[in-house]
């Protein structure tokens, strides 16, 4: 079966909004999960404040990793934006992805007004495999849901 990354609509919207907010710099963050199901999103600071790269702020990263650990969550997704190129892993992304084995890399692009959201699994040997992003409507009772 081909892998699919399933994410609630609210999280995808948050990633896109974060990317637009931080443009022209790249944005970054993570989505925590449990058994492959997304549980919460952490929008993080790009310590590099750069239009061509991102680095998690080490102090913030420690807090986020602790929070995931305490809640028995795993690192499900590392997300970031590209500001001038397509939402596809750069060579730098491929190199750094070795540090997050098993995590999906979600990329968005702010190069135009169109929303681009793509997900990838990057193998240890650097092979990039795109996987579809399945956006599901938010369950009742989640923030932003008006029918609950």
């Amino acid at each position: 079966m081909r892998p699919v990354l399933t994410l609630p609509r609210a999280m995808v919207d948050q990633v896109l909004a974060h990317a637009r907010r931080d443009h022209p710099d790249e944005c970054c963050g993570v989505i925590a999960g449990r058994d492959g199901v997304a549980t919460r999103l952490f929008a993080m600071a790009n310590a590099e404040r750069s239009p061509t790269g991102f680095v998690f702020d080490p102090q913030e990263q420690l807090r986020v990793w602790r929070a995931m650990d305490d809640a028995d969550e795993d690192l499900l997704v590392v997300y970031h934006s590209h500001t001038m190129t397509e939402a596809y892993p750069s060579r730098t992304d491929v190199r750094w992805s070795a540090n997050t084995p098993g995590a999906h890399w979600l990329l968005v692009s702010t190069r135009s007004d169109d929303d681009e959201v793509r997900a990838f699994l990057i193998a240890a040997d650097g092979t990039v495999a795109e996987e579809p992003v399945e956006v599901v409507d938010d369950p009742p009772g989640t923030p932003g849901d008006v029918t609950a």
């Binding site: 970054c28 993570v30 590099e48 061509t52 790269g53 991102f54 680095v55 998690f56 080490p58 102090q59 990263q61 420690l62 990793w65 590392v78 970031h80 892993p89 750069s90 060579r91 730098t92 992304d93 750094w96 992805s97 070795a98 540090n99 997050t100 084995p101 890399w105």
Partner: protein, 91 residues
């Protein structure tokens, strides 16, 4: 004296799968040398050939990033806790 060192998943191949190991040393540098005597290869994943910390890892002493404490010369004392995390970055 014992210092607890928390090891991230990607480096647990050096610790036989252990999430945390104990070591001794009065500085981060001597702690890593001590750890390497039992977990051979671990130090090379943290320290560059030039003797600085790899940018691929973050090392914290009592939850403070050692880059702001004194790097490898950061002093340690009994009961301190050291955490290693893989850095996350991209382009």
């Amino acid at each position: 004296m014992a210092i607890e060192v928390r090891i991230p998943t990607i480096l647990r191949t050096y610790t036989g799968g252990e999430k945390a190991v104990e070591g001794t040393g009065d500085s981060l540098s001597s702690l890593l040398a001590d750890l390497d005597s039992r977990h051979s290869g671990l130090r090379d994943r943290l320290v560059t050939g030039e003797g600085g910390l790899h940018r691929f890892v973050n090392v914290y002493v009592n939850d403070e990033d050692v880059r702001f404490l004194g790097g490898l010369e950061t002093p340690l004392k009994d009961g301190d806790s050291v955490t290693v995390l893989p850095a996350v970055a991209g382009g």
